[in-house]
């Protein structure tokens, strides 16, 4: 089952729409609550990242019988050094974004913590694609 969402960069009022919809679907499927929680936290963080940093993005969620595969593709500044960005506390968010309670530099580490599999590809000046896969049962 495929769910697609467009994300508007800079519009924090709409941040969380995708994670909220995905959460509803997973609850209805009867996916274990703690599994849903990890997926939603990872997806929400990644969604906010697009809003905070990119001009626009597309989120494609593929819900399978045993797992969820999420792709978040954005047009944006890209990430220069992914391993640096994965460190807790590292942030390039503007003062404005931080004042709104975002951009504390916990985003990517938090995604990593909650994703079973995480893959990030990025080109500076073009954009970033994040793949998150979470399984419903522990393999």
């Amino acid at each position: 089952m495929k769910l697609n969402f467009q994300v508007e960069g800079g519009n924090f009022a709409k941040a969380g729409v995708a994670s909220s919809e995905v959460k509803k679907v997973l609850k209805k499927l009867g996916v274990p609550p703690m599994v849903i929680r990890r997926i939603v936290v990872a997806l929400y963080e990644a969604e906010v990242n697009i809003v905070a940093h990119a001009q626009q993005g597309i989120i494609s969620v593929d819900v399978r019988h045993d797992k969820v595969e999420i792709e978040l593709r954005d047009k944006g500044p890209g990430i220069g050094d992914i391993s640096q960005a994965m460190q807790e506390g590292f942030s390039t968010a503007s003062e404005e974004v931080r004042a709104m309670g975002f951009g504390a530099g916990m985003g990517l580490p938090n995604i990593k913590k909650n994703a079973d599999e995480l893959n990030i590809e990025s080109k500076v000046g073009e954009g970033t694609t994040v793949h998150i896969t979470n399984y419903f049962a522990k393999p």
Partner: protein, 470 residues
């Protein structure tokens, strides 16, 4: 039906079918989509209902009621204790004194009176002890004071049950406390009945089937609006005095404010957030699930706006009640130390609260998957108007009912209309379908409905009453 395993759960909210006109107001406000119209009457899906009372509030026909024990049952006991929360006192007009309110309770037949929120320091210290020494998951801890929000979390936010404070509510504390007091007076426990007067359906449901403990300590429940009427009728005639059987020694400022917004929050250091009103509670729980709340140590939730001052069986206005409660609190000292009451603290512990997720389409995930795909296809056909004329709260809810085999395509009046135009169904058949959902003769002319010529206000006229008198 995957909801059947929850049938043993007790609910306090009931529907009087003779009053229900299936006007669909309740459908739209239910936070767990627990209501459907069947055969022209609202019905509640038991496993989904959290007893919050939003339907009770929304119903223009007063068709929802809250079950209670008969007041005469208090006379089954030699000693009769009225256990009531501070909001009960605060909702009366200023010209009725506390002494008069207490006196009327005794006139009704209670031998002892006890306000619920005492000795509150035992609860405060016990919750602090839980936070510091027992809780080892992610912050925040969530208050378990409001039983409607506890049930909401079990049903709709099952991953958050781990956050709940594993402590009883003040009414349990006060019930144990008053039992101790009675014992001190030399009263045999089997001679004493404790009756809890409450403004809250969820509290009643919680007392009848407590979450996280085996048995509740109170012997009966009395609907607060009934006692309110008694006090209003009798208070002006009594010259009230407090009496030695009034259990008032532990009334404190903190206790009086406990059930209002920020009542619990005030007792805790660290960052805490107080949220009242069902829709606000839902929004904050969604954010907590998303991991989108800043670090908060304590989350206080109240399903009713203005906390218990806005309880569904409160007669007084919630803002006036809260205001009087704040004024009243100033007359009482700060809560005394809980030292020496460790045995009471022990009574407050409850077992972990179990999640009981109710929103899934099937207990088998593969089947749920197939059902969801089918529901999504059905949604392509439904109009997306969410009018409730099918008896479900939304088009999506109807589609999900269909895949559970609890509803049919023709329940949608727009689909029926379309099918008639396309010649797929006769007008006769379409109308019969409507009557199946809404009841026979439901569409006959009826001048007694709300806003119609002979609208007599709330409720049905009793037989023999002459409508012309009005």
């Amino acid at each position: 039906m995957n909801q059947s395993n929850q049938l043993e759960l007790h609910h306090a909210i009931k529907i009087a079918p003779d009053k229900c006109r299936a006007c669909t107001h309740c459908l739209q406000v239910c936070p767990t989509e627990a209501i459907r119209i069947r055969n022209g009457k609202a019905t509640i899906i038991p496993g989904r209902c959290v007893d919050c009372g939003e339907c009770h509030r929304a119903c223009p026909y007063h068709a929802f009621y809250v079950e209670q024990d008969d007041l005469s049952r208090i006379f089954d006991y030699k000693y009769r204790v009225a256990l009531f929360p501070a909001v009960f006192v605060s909702q009366f007009p200023e010209n009725i004194s506390e002494e008069q309110i207490y006196s009327v309770l005794k006139q009704i037949g209670f031998t002892h009176t006890c306000e619920v929120e005492q000795p509150i320091s035992v609860l405060i210290d016990s919750i602090k002890d839980f936070a510091q020494n027992e809780y080892d998951s992610e912050s925040p801890i969530i208050s378990s004071f409001c039983p409607a929000t506890v049930r909401l979390i079990q049903v709709k936010y099952p991953a958050l049950t781990d956050h709940l404070v594993l402590r009883n509510a003040p009414h349990d504390l006060a019930a144990w406390y008053v039992r101790q007091r009675l014992a001190e007076e030399g009263i045999d426990p089997s001679d004493a009945g404790i009756f809890y007067i409450t403004p809250c359906a969820a509290k009643i449901a919680a007392v009848k089937s407590p979450v996280g403990e085996k048995k509740s300590i109170v012997d009966g429940i009395i609907n607060m609006s009934e006692i309110y009427n008694q006090v209003m009728a009798k208070a002006t005639g009594v010259t009230g005095n407090f009496h030695s059987c009034d259990c008032r020694n532990e009334i404190s400022r903190e206790g009086i404010l406990w059930s209002l917004p920020e009542g619990e929050k005030a007792a805790f250091e660290g960052k805490s957030l107080s949220v009242d009103g069902m829709h606000n509670v839902i929004r904050i729980l969604e954010r907590l699930e998303d991991g989108d709340l800043p670090d908060i140590d304590f989350l206080e939730l109240r399903a009713c706006e203005e906390g218990c001052a806005g309880g569904i069986m409160m007669t007084g206005n919630r803002f006036l009640t809260a205001d009087r409660q704040h004024s009243r609190a100033k007359n009482f000292p700060k809560a005394q130390s809980s030292v020496g009451m460790e045995d009471l603290a022990e009574k407050l512990r409850i077992a972990p609260v179990q999640p009981r997720p109710m929103v899934h389409l099937d207990t088998d995930m593969e089947k749920a998957f197939a059902k969801m795909e089918k529901a999504r296809s059905i949604m392509c056909h439904l109009p997306g108007i969410d009018c409730g004329a099918c008896g479900a709260p939304s088009c999506l809810a109807l589609a999900e009912d269909m895949v559970r085999h609890e509803a049919r395509m023709t329940d949608c009046i727009y689909i029926q209309q379309l099918w008639q135009k396309e010649g797929k169904i006769s007008a006769e058949k379409a109308f019969r379908n409507l009557e199946k959902r809404w009841g026979e003769n439901r569409f006959d002319m009826d001048c007694s409905k709300r806003g119609a010529k002979n609208d007599n206000g709330f409720g049905l006229m009793n037989e023999g009453e002459d409508a012309d008198l009005y």
